[in-house]
Amino acid sequence: MSDTEHPPTPESEPPDRKIGVDQWVAQADDRRQKATGLGGRIAHIWRILPPAGKLALLTPAIVVPFLGISNGNLFNYGIFILIYALLALGLNVVLGFAGLLDLGYVAFFGFGAYIYAFLSSAHSEKGHVYAHHWDAQYSIPVAVAICALLGLFLGSSSRRLLGDYLAIVTLFFGQAFVVFTNAADPYGITNGSNGLANIDPLTFFGGHLTIHTTRGYYWFLLAVVMLMLVVLHFLSESRTGRAWKASREDPLAAEQMGIPVNRIKIMAFSFGAGIAGLAGSIFAAVQTGAFPQNFGTAVLILIYAVVILGGTGSLTGMIVGSIVIIASNQALDSTSPPNQARVLFYAVLIAAVLLTMKTWPKRIAALLGAAVFGLVLHAIVGAVWSNGTNGQVTSGGFLTGVIKHWVLMPVHPHRLAIWGYLLLIVCVVVLVNLKGWWRILVLVPTLSLTAFVWENLMILQPAVTRAVLFGLLLIAVMTIRPQGLFGSAKVEIV
């Protein structure tokens, strides 16, 4: 390049460009904003909305549905959504900002709960008497600090390890926590699988302020989550937050720019552990107990599902992901009415069909085809083999009639349902590999088969079903849309 050529003039760039976003990345941003359709427009509006506006729009979404709700539902939905939102915000620092795969995250949640239980409860186990009754303004910070220190310790012990090895070390840490609290604890301080019960409610300032109702916990948690959102927003824009993102994108380049990569990674790890400890201590107070089964692999997968669906790195995503995942998780609980789960399942199924088929004729063909196919199959099987359609519908509610005439309900479904499940996996595998109208041809019987498996196998074990579905969700989100709902797509620099 000769000296006479001018560099691109600064005037040609829009003045509101963010610092640290170079021209190439900015262009990629512009390209992305050209997404069309209703979804694209909403996404665009959401992107240009200032953070305060996002908060103002999100708050009613969490608050309004829970204003007139019964206490039981408020506990099952409102409080769990907020607890997991808090957990997701913490994991987001580790996984989203710093890009570390922490599979022992749930252990810090457990540590928080148990530390709170030790400090603020009164009971004796095997000769040990605890009657500390610390106020929450002391015990919660202590729990958070201990968790953060543990995170610091675990993070720095695995400092030399590559990303994958960190995942395994933390996975082992999480398992060790569960094994220890469950059985291997030699002194009985964690009371094994029975856990610790009768923990104090949140008591501040010597009893001047006590939170012990479900509704009180809900507002308290809401305040904590909002505060955490604001803190994390400023943190992610701060020097440290930018350093985290830089070292996530390219540790080598970040190191060259003078960022102490190892140190800030450990810092992120410790920060996330602290937030998990906070969530754990509040959780222990809410359910007035700490039990080892609350901190197992299933919970870990749930937190990951929230973070991955919401979109790693996005604060909005954590809240929305938590609402979607935890609401479906609770609806699929074995104590919930099965019909609730059924409606949710069919809604998701229809939405999946609408999303995978790109044009309206195909969508209508698929859904109508499935309806007709089910009826015809039911009529044929009913004529040939009457035991194949005379089974019992599990608490069908207002859908009983539809199910009875559309889904095959054998009298002894168990063995058939197992084969149906295996066949369904094969069908889905085939389906993904087909294109165009062939896909619809296979999709129609697959939908019928899905309904068959759901009615005869899955609805009987909703708690296992949701675990299967969350496993699938992780795979599906990762392969179809790795940035989740609200994350920003990675700009590939080749």
């Binding site: 890009g99 590559l162 094994v179 499940y421 296992v464 795979i475 392969t479 790795p482 990675k490």
Partner: protein, 345 residues
């Protein structure tokens, strides 16, 4: 002698010294002295270790070629054990009077192995196709999360289909539970079943080494693990080679699942988790990416577990194995046979 060989020899020498010290302590100074006890535990450890080595081979092959920790590998092992259980049930079980004792039992076991290896192999290829292939150029963390999803999906699918109970491999008659006594009735006892496990896993490993070293596919696998892009430019079909790697690794895991089921005579949906973690430990101890390392690592993990069970107690055995994993990762992250990773800029 190259730098790498020297480092490996140093590692092996250190290992030999540690093992020798341990043997002297266990035989002459520990509370339960004597050669018989020690040798009996060693034999058990070698049997267990050959199963772990088979699992570790799958981890190490996939890591070598994709640089991916396949968290789902332990669950492929579990599915293999379940497939063999299905075959056993389908053929009427070990007590089926239609099958003559002896040769008939051996035939059933052969069928179980074939079905489990084929089924797990196909499962492995399917997992690769759907959960890992779309993410091949994604950030390193994406396939790990996807693998986590696969593991969770497989475990809970089995729970959904077959419940949480233990299924017994009623294989007591398949292969005799008798064995050889070395050194008299109070000497070391080796089950025929254990011998079968050792012999068949050694045979599988020899076959694998031959395949990797002397066939065209093996050469392609080594090339792809060395440099994927360059081997693509040389005309190697990357997708096919990776799929083949997954098939072989998963088939070995399936075989290991059958052996595990026969040894402990039960299968259940969570058996893959801890066995998978131990296989992974074996792969890391041996140096992940190295095939002889995985074999040696598997043997070591089996021995350590068996010794810990004998000299300490059963509950602590797992913790000892994982303690060793952490120690190896901190002291010698590339394991016994691993080569130090050079980061290209």
């Amino acid at each position: 002698m190259s730098e790498t060989t020297r480092a490996q020899l140093k590692g092996l020498a250190g290992l030999a010294v540690i093992l020798a010290c341990w043997t002297v302590y266990a035989v002459y100074f520990s509370p339960t002295q004597g050669w018989t006890f020690y040798l009996q535990l060693t034999v058990n450890g070698i049997i267990l270790g050959s199963v772990y080595a088979l699992i570790a081979l799958g981890y190490t092959m996939v890591y070598g070629i994709l640089k991916l920790l396949n968290f789902a590998h332990g669950d492929v092992f579990m599915v293999g054990a379940f497939i063999a259980f299905g075959v056993l049930t389908l053929l009427g079980g070990a007590y089926n009077p239609a099958i003559p004792a002896g040769a008939g039992g051996a035939l059933i076991v052969l069928c179980m192995f074939a079905a489990a290896m084929l089924g797990s192999g196909v499962l492995g290829v399917t997992i690769e196709r759907f959960a890992y292939r779309p993410l091949r150029n994604a950030p390193r963390i994406a396939p790990l999360i996807s693998a986590l999803g696969v593991a969770f999906f497989l475990e809970n699918s089995m729970l959904l289909l077959f419940g949480s109970g233990f299924r017994t491999y009623n294989g007591f008659d398949l292969i005799s539970y008798n064995g050889i006594h070395l050194g008299g009735a109070n000497g070391v006892f080796i089950q025929y079943l254990g011998l079968m496990v050792i012999v068949s896993s050694v045979a599988l490993m020899v076959a694998l080494i031959a395949l990797v070293r002397w066939t065209q596919l093996g050469r392609a696998m080594r090339a792809v693990s060395f440099d994927r892009e360059a081997s693509a430019m040389m005309g190697i079909d990357i997708d096919r080679v990776i799929a083949a790697t997954f098939f072989i690794g998963s088939a070995l895991a399936g075989a290991a699942g059958v052996m595990f089921g026969l040894l402990y005579s039960q299968v259940y949906h969570l058996m893959g988790f801890f066995a998978g973690l131990k296989g992974f430990t074996a792969a890391v101890v041996g140096g992940i990416g190295s095939i002889p390392g995985a074999m040696l690592g598997g043997l070591l993990v089996g021995l350590v577990e068996s010794w810990a069970q004998g000299y300490l107690n059963g509950n602590v055995a797992d913790l000892v194995v994982f303690g060793i994993l952490i120690a190896v990762m901190l002291i010698r992250p590339r394991g016994l046979f691993g080569t130090p990773e050079l980061q290209k800029v």
